[in-house]
Symmetry: D2
Subunit: 375 residues, 4 copies
């Protein structure tokens, strides 16, 4: 291993995990980061089995994340940062422990299970001075970053409307009661936190809307539903928004939109035109203009701004997808570690975004059905 | 002219009108209806000029619609029905006069300018026994009818969510203050009625959502905005809905979505799958299923139901558009006249739909910002 | 009927005809033309039944087209032009008779059944001085005209490659042997002429390629196949082309592309970019550029050239389809009659295009499998 | 590193290489393979710099591939296989040396620079008994494999037509004369071999057509052009094909289709329907049927066959792209090494495919313009 490689440990991601392998693939994609250790499962045997699955030395797989942090801290080739890929309720204690043991943290979203935890975590981040990043994956897509850049640049004029949707169908049946582990923890408030659909995907939609529009949500009017009988958390949420100084917005999310796959779509309208990005075809960004032909921007094209062109690994016309978007966040995070710099000059979501997301979820759940409230 | 042709008069549609010529084209498309007379403009000279433009005898062009109705009533080859294509505030008086003079009426939407007028008109329809149809154009699209048929047939299972959008950008600037006649009357409450965007296009979205889902809207939570400074009516509206016994819905409409053209889109989700229809490509209907491949239905295909297959004039792969959709309503209306039957067995929108639409507009405008209210 | 209306007769289009009603709808769409007479069928009774179906006076329906031409010639309100919608083998004799009786002619394609007939017809057109137009329908699409305009204007630079395809699947089975009248005459050389697929749709592809690229095909290398056993004419054809001074081209057509509907697609590449138009979505024209974002032009947009903007009847976002494209040719043709001018300043295909098409079919059939030959 | 990881060396892929990093990313994506050594450049310093870029120990970077093979052969942790990512003219000597030194080989395409070399290489593969795979990347896309599976299963009935296109625009200008290294070696016969466009991308189209249709090309009629003045190899090729016992086919490829990106598209038509796969949207496979609705298959869906479902790393709706397709070939190859089995039960392209491709290129170049010839 070359000495310029950043070393990563993982907490969570044991056998059967979906997101653990995605984090490993994303982290290692560019050859700048290596997974070297992990507390993949509370069961040490399972943790070691996971290590083999990841292709790493089982001797660096632990059953306890605190033990791992202690052990890695004293190795000269020990991990430099921790990726957290556990269910939501563990995000806070693991992140806190890691930061306090001197490790940087890149956590899966949401930041924590409750708003209070997020506020505590923000203090820990500030106190320790360690880097804390959050994998709001969709911000890693090059054309989402391009979209943000062109809104900032004023191409659309002042923003006038934001419509964001995130539509899935995989919870159309009560699969959490059968054998779907992914569904089971998400449907359980003890592991998932306050929000169901809103916490799992609504918060992604919220984040990408703020990320691209450059506007913060200031008010909301939430309608959260549990469509499937017996479900304890919401599985469908529709929310009217105000962004910034009164810009209207709509957020529509569902996990019971039967037949839909992973339909995140963002539209931002300004005075002069609107942008449209769909996760189903992430390598195009459509710009509709008031008075000239529609433009379709293709990923990796030379005419893109640095924000959108920079992340491309392949020539235009060679699709990059979800893993690559994830990897863009990892690459930026690793670069910040390598340079010994903060995240402020990067597109990596931070604890600030984590707080925003938790506040959004908490407020929407608390004020569900109550009409307009401030955020 | 063959004696099986139904004879039509028009009120409105003078020089410069957009919708008048569309009605004539739609009416005459199938050779079953002929425009024979009209009160195209209050100015008799302009009315006669319009007649020549429509290719009809200027001798049957009038400056006053009451005069026209009287004159046509006594001719053996007089008009059998009146198409109303005026600005909204005239819909009610013209319809009333026509029905009371014994003519059938096919009116552009909305039925009237106010809910009270619509209620009065419903009584006139009932009292006169004449046919009263409403050109909610989008219900004329074959695949919108197919969508309704398959929901009725239970293909999707119980309906669980409805998302309808109608997005235009042509009012992004204050064009009503310059030289755009179409914009001017729409932006003037005296001619347009209570609603701006909601009355012009929101009501189309509302109608098509009820038409296809088979569910009535029972509650709403409206957010209407006037985005362009100085505009007196709403130009953007976002409304949370409940349909039937608690099905969540969202209606998003705008006339300031800069760059958008005429983006009506309806998605209806049921237990087993969801349907998706977009006006941008009206000859496909997409069905996404929970557990099997997506299906794309193409207009005019033999596998469609009679509701969807019947209206096709051309073999599959030969696009039919807006005029043809309009013409489908005219064809059904003329057939009902020819058969001396009512509209109940047809897909032609009636005064019932007119009342629903007016109630929706009135309630949304009155309860704008007030959270959930009943409809 | 207003006196500015142009009067049309039809030959062919009897009961069961697909294309006859399309011609009538297209002709009358804009209120500038009225169908007033016809020899719809050789059987006078069927001809009169067709008249009623078209909504015209059965007294002007004839069983013999020569008789009709004679009768209409002496009426002050007689037909001014004849639309020919018969099977191919009658195109020539009917056109000749009409032109020689002083009537203008708008004929369905191909011009004739053989190249020799087309050459004769060209002489008749020249001798009589009557207008002769040909409904190569696809040239009526506004964005096909826009495509031509932008190639002419040099937007793409010199043309370097042309790819045109026309793909249908409706002859995948031997439907001509069952009850499909449309298939039966097309599969019969006595009625259809030399070419099967190449004469029915290949020639459309050829025409639209020459129309848009502005280049004539100079050489070809044809591969015509009869894929369905027992079929006497080709049902699939793939042809390598040279256009102008050596520009490579490819024409791919099929009527046995099972599942395809009516897939005409044209791509023209120049030094700076390429255009892409598909009949499946006729209201968009895509321009891909070497060094800047893709542009998507939408029909009826203000930014189009007069050639592409002019034909629009509806605001952008309101789909116009096949009938409207057809109607654009009729409108231009009627305008030329009304103005007493020739077709040279219009986009209406002429006998020149008819000759080109017949030469193409004849040459491809004769040189099938023989490698490169001159056209 | 876990002991179940397969160790890889690379030849080629030095600083500035596009395809070298892609191979590394693909190889390591699943954690089953590690790059451990390389002869990345003939210049040892550049080779070591590349090693650091790949995150590996510079001590295992060599300037000479034979030296590397010798050194790795004697290490207990030495490379088990070699990935060849050099320009085409080195494919043969490197592969031969590697196989003869006992290493398995996974080579970029084409197999060699000439047909004669490919024939020699086939003998070396047979003699050494080592695994030899070829990264015809597009065969790694899950839905290309699904397409093959459904053709094999007979879903389409007998295959009747194949249309394959591969359209790029990046060689529209003479960029090989400026500073584009990728273009320079491709445009130089000494490095690229006989074929320009046909060897670079035409052969991909050829391979994917044979792979999916299950039919071998038996005859061809080639039209190869050098469109850009001064270019020594073809940059555009259009080829009529016969597959199997007379199935017509068309192959259209270009690198001067200005504005196109990387447009590989395959359509295979059978008696009952046709399949359509486009690289622009690789995670959908469209099936058009003669008598029922179009189906759209989405990658990673449970309803896919094992061939199409198996490779998915992510849930449906999460795009996987070019790197993942590449990685699927690497994964299968590594699995064969791990199991000590041959490639015959896998989808990995072999020397047989390499020979087919070279024969195709050689025959098309030799018989360019000569009409039909056997392959």
């Amino acid at each position: 291993m070359s000495d310029n490689v950043i070393r990563m440990a993982m907490v969570g991601g044991g056998p059967g995990s979906f997101i653990g392998p995605v984090h490993r693939m994303a982290a290692e994609l560019d050859g700048r980061i290596r997974l070297v250790a992990g507390a993949f499962s509370r069961d040490e045997g399972r943790s070691k089995a996971a290590a083999r699955g990841y292709g790493i030395d089982p001797g660096r797989a632990y059953g306890d994340y605190r033990q791992m942090m202690a052990a890695e801290a004293v190795r000269p080739d020990g991990a430099q940062f921790v990726a957290i890929v556990t269910p939501n309720h563990l995000h806070f204690p693991v992140a806190k422990a890691a930061l306090e043991s001197g490790l940087h943290v890149l956590s899966d979203k949401p930041a924590t299970a409750t708003l209070e935890e997020a506020e505590s975590l923000a203090r820990v981040v500030a106190d320790t001075g360690r880097l804390y990043g959050l994998t709001y994956t969709y911000t890693g897509y090059p054309l989402v970053r391009e979209a943000r850049a062109l809104v900032r640049r004023g191409d659309l004029g002042d923003v006038r409307k934001v419509v964001v949707e995130y539509s899935q169908g995989w919870l159309s049946d009560a699969v959490e009661k059968t054998d779907n582990a992914q569904a089971a923890w998400r449907a359980d408030p003890a592991q998932s936190g306050l929000g169901g659909c809103i916490g799992d995907i609504g918060v992604h939609a919220f984040n990408v809307a703020e990320f691209v529009s450059g506007l913060g949500v200031t008010r909301l009017n939430a309608d959260l539903n549990s469509v499937v009988p017996g479900r304890r958390l919401d599985d469908d949420c529709n929310i009217l928004l105000r962004l910034g100084q009164g810009v209207p917005g709509v957020l529509v999310a569902s996990q019971v939109a039967a037949g839909d796959r992973n339909g995140l779509r963002l539209r931002v309208y300004g005075e002069k035109g609107g942008l449209d990005w769909c996760h189903e075809q992430p390598d195009v960004l459509t710009l509709n203009w008031l008075d000239r032909p529609t433009q379709v921007l293709h990923a990796a094209s030379p005419y893109l701004s640095p924000a959108g062109r920079g992340p491309a690994r392949l020539p235009t016309g060679h699709p990059e997808g979800f893993i690559e978007a994830f990897a863009n966040i990892y690459r930026d995070f690793a670069q910040a570690i390598g340079l010994g710099q903060g995240l402020s000059g990067t597109a990596v979501p931070t604890i600030h975004d984590g707080l925003r997301g938790m506040a959004f979820v908490a407020r929407a759940v608390a004020a569900n059905g109550a009409g307009w409230v401030d955020l």
